[in-house]
């Protein structure tokens, strides 16, 4: 893995600071239901649990102004034409190994859909049958520090992925 982010809770679950390889790079701040990701140089992204008009579990939308930067729907997100699965099971790893501890982001190489809205009921219900190479590793509770390690292919949205990973899975 080429980059390592650490998200540490500072106040309530929507308040945290984000470090990139030990250097503070951004913070999360929450007002009412709106969480904002603010980088050190003042760039802002709005993070919402509402995806395609609906609040959904394991789903988040990150927007920069009006532009959507990352959409996670039911643990799945698409980046540069490829689908990725949060909480995935890496290809070739036994399920028992991931019962406790670290979790993985897996790339779904042969995923038979091109867009979120095309994915049928059956696939969504059995999404954990899908496997792929691990291109991200998630570890740790936000209070102690939630670590997000990513491969090169996710580096450009690493900050947004770490923020969402913390907010969805590890805020506590």
């Amino acid at each position: 893995m080429v980059v390592e982010y650490t998200v540490k809770r500072t106040g309530g679950p929507g308040e945290a600071v984000i470090f990139l390889n030990d250097r503070e790079v951004a913070k999360l701040s929450k007002e009412d239901d709106q969480v904002t990701l603010i980088s050190r140089d003042g760039e802002r992204w709005n993070i919402s649990r509402r995806v395609e008009g609906e609040l959904r579990p394991f789903s988040m939308q990150v927007k920069h102004g009006e532009k959507s930067v990352l959409t996670i729907k039911d643990n799945l997100f698409k980046h540069k034409g490829k689908f990725y699965l949060f909480m995935g099971i890496p290809e070739g790893k036994p399920m028992r190994e991931i019962l406790l501890g670290r979790r993985f982001i897996c790339r779904l190489d042969n995923f038979p859909f091109n867009e979120h809205h095309e994915i049928d009921h059956e696939t969504r219900s059995r999404i954990r049958r899908f496997r792929g190479p691990a291109v991200g590793e998630l570890d740790g509770l936000g209070k102690a520090g939630h670590k997000v390690k990513l491969e090169d292919e996710l580096k450009d949205i690493g900050l947004q992925i770490s923020a969402c990973s913390y907010l969805i899975y590890s805020a506590g």
Partner: protein
């Protein structure tokens, strides 16, 4: 830094009966927590501001509220909180794979050790309620609307319960003489004793839901009859179409289908089956498949015969979709596994199975699911002697009603529904495994509840005000309300 108690109060994942004893009968594998254990375990819960356990539960069970109340010894409140979204509490506590993508898999304590034993605490509360009966959830004023539900499985029952709470009159049609669907005849008693399911079905009926047994829609009564009598119809007929292996010898005596086998063994109760056995399994039994149903068929055969039972799977253990905690149970009981093998032909003598010729398999390129595809290795076939083979290679949605009424279908003849759970026929809705394919009890229930919400909105002309059950939970169960203890009135529908 240790912030929490990293270990459960008892063994991980839960205490189990002695394998040498339990494999001789159908008594429960999982052993319940005592009151003290349940309270101590519940107190490990962090009462999270973002309770990801609730997000991961398909019916959004109020896990945080339950844990908080159990930790305080207030079991009444714990029951009231979780009963709100789940009428099959004892059932799901026992048969949900909580560590596999559900509540315990998501629990934040997993980052620091073992997640809270949510299923065990839920089981304690459900069992407590059976001894200390609590009031049913409230029912809204009668609307005068009538809904027919086809199928009394988890999806149909959960939908019927929510529709009833909205004040509609509900009749469930069931072709068998028992309710519970696959949970009744598929899930073995060592995981789900029948009396637990029966109690919860009876409680649902006592809310004023009529179940008409032994009526198959499409045979004794037609869909048109139902549309004449009811304002809306919900199809929840589950999975039934068994996948066949089309290889030589499939018709030999001794080659059985796992789903028929489990249904025949459990549908009238295990004691009845033992008195009147139907299958000649012999002592050497092979089960083909890699899912939970293969494990259930193997462990049931073991209990009936005390024989040598081997599960044959065409990939390796790493690719097996079965729940690893159930795999452990099977291994503890002495079930054998043969990986990277697949049947080529069934061989008989006097029309009775005596062996199976197996391909040796190897893993090739990944398929659509990303798992590497099994391929036969030339010239490395081998023979396995056996008395019977049980095939557990999957079930597809029950296509009977779709075919009978020419309803639009999806993958593998599943019933097609749109985002409103509407089928291609006016006033007819669909839900559960007949739509999604084989899933889980709790997922079928969640699907049933979402369909019920849509039907309610349709009947009351509120479709433009649709709100998902998740959003409802999210708005009503905020951390602030939880801290204030402000959400403990009688549960709204």
């Amino acid at each position: 830094m240790t912030l929490v108690q990293p270990k459960r109060v008892s063994t991980f994942p839960f205490p189990k009966a002695d394998p040498a004893k339990r494999k001789k009968d159908f008594s429960e594998v999982q052993q319940a927590y005592s009151k003290e254990e349940a309270m101590e375990e519940a107190d490990r819960c962090l009462r999270c501001g973002t309770p990801v356990c609730i997000d991961a539960c398909p019916v959004h069970l109020d896990v945080r509220g339950m844990n908080d109340a159990v930790a305080k010894g207030d079991f009444e409140q714990a029951y009231r909180r979780i009963r709100e979204t789940n009428p099959l509490l004892g059932v799901t506590a026992r048969c949900c794979p909580q560590l596999m993508g559900l509540c315990e898999d998501a629990c934040v304590l997993r980052w620091q050790g073992e997640p809270v034993a949510i299923g065990m605490i839920q089981r304690f509360v459900a069992d407590w309620e059976r001894k200390h009966r609590q009031p049913d959830p409230s029912i809204e004023k009668a609307t005068g609307k009538r809904v027919a539900v086809i199928g009394a499985g988890p999806a149909g029952l959960a939908a019927a319960e929510l529709l009833r709470r909205y004040g509609h009159s509900v009749v469930v049609y069931e072709e068998l003489q028992y309710a519970g669907g696959t949970a009744w005849y598929g899930i073995p008693d060592y995981h789900l004793p029948k009396d637990v399911l029966q109690y919860e079905v009876d409680r649902i009926k006592e809310m004023g839901i009529e179940i008409r047994y032994n009526i198959s829609i499409g045979k004794q009564v037609t869909l048109t009859d139902l549309l004449d009598e009811f304002d809306a119809v919900l199809i929840a007929t589950g999975c039934k179409d068994v996948m066949k292996l089309d290889i030589a010898g499939s018709n030999l005596k001794g080659v059985y289908d796992a789903y028929d086998f489990l249904q025949d063994v459990f549908v009238r109760g295990i004691d009845e089956y033992i008195k009147h056995p139907k299958y000649e399994l012999g002592k050497d039994i092979i089960v083909i498949g890699g899912g939970d149903s293969a494990l259930d068929a193997a462990r049931t055969a073991l209990r009936l015969t005390n024989g040598n039972v081997t599960i044959v799977y065409r990939r390796t253990e790493n690719e097996m979709p079965a729940d690893p905690t159930i795999m452990d149970e099977a291994k503890e009981e002495g079930i054998q596994f043969k990986f990277l093998a697949a049947p080529k032909s069934f061989n008989g003598s006097n029309n009775r199975l005596v062996s199976v010729t197996m391909y040796t398999m190897k893993l090739g390129a990944p398929d659509q699911t990303g798992r590497r595809s099994p391929e036969p290795v030339e010239g490395e076939d081998f023979n396995m002697k056996c008395d019977s083979v049980i095939l557990a290679i999957g079930r597809a949605p029950n296509s009977f009603i779709q075919r009978a009424y020419n309803l639009k279908t999806g993958k593998r003849n599943s019933l097609y529904v749109d985002d409103h759970y509407r089928t291609s026929m006016e006033r007819v809705f669909g839900t559960g495994d007949v739509v999604t394919g084989e899933s889980l009890v709790v997922k079928a229930m969640a699907h049933g509840r979402e369909a019920a919400q849509r039907i309610h909105e349709y009947l009351m002309n509120m479709e433009d005000k649709h709100i998902s059950l998740y959003e409802k939970y999210y708005n009503e169960r905020t951390y602030e309300k939880f801290v204030e203890g402000a959400y403990d009135g009688l549960p709204p529908p």
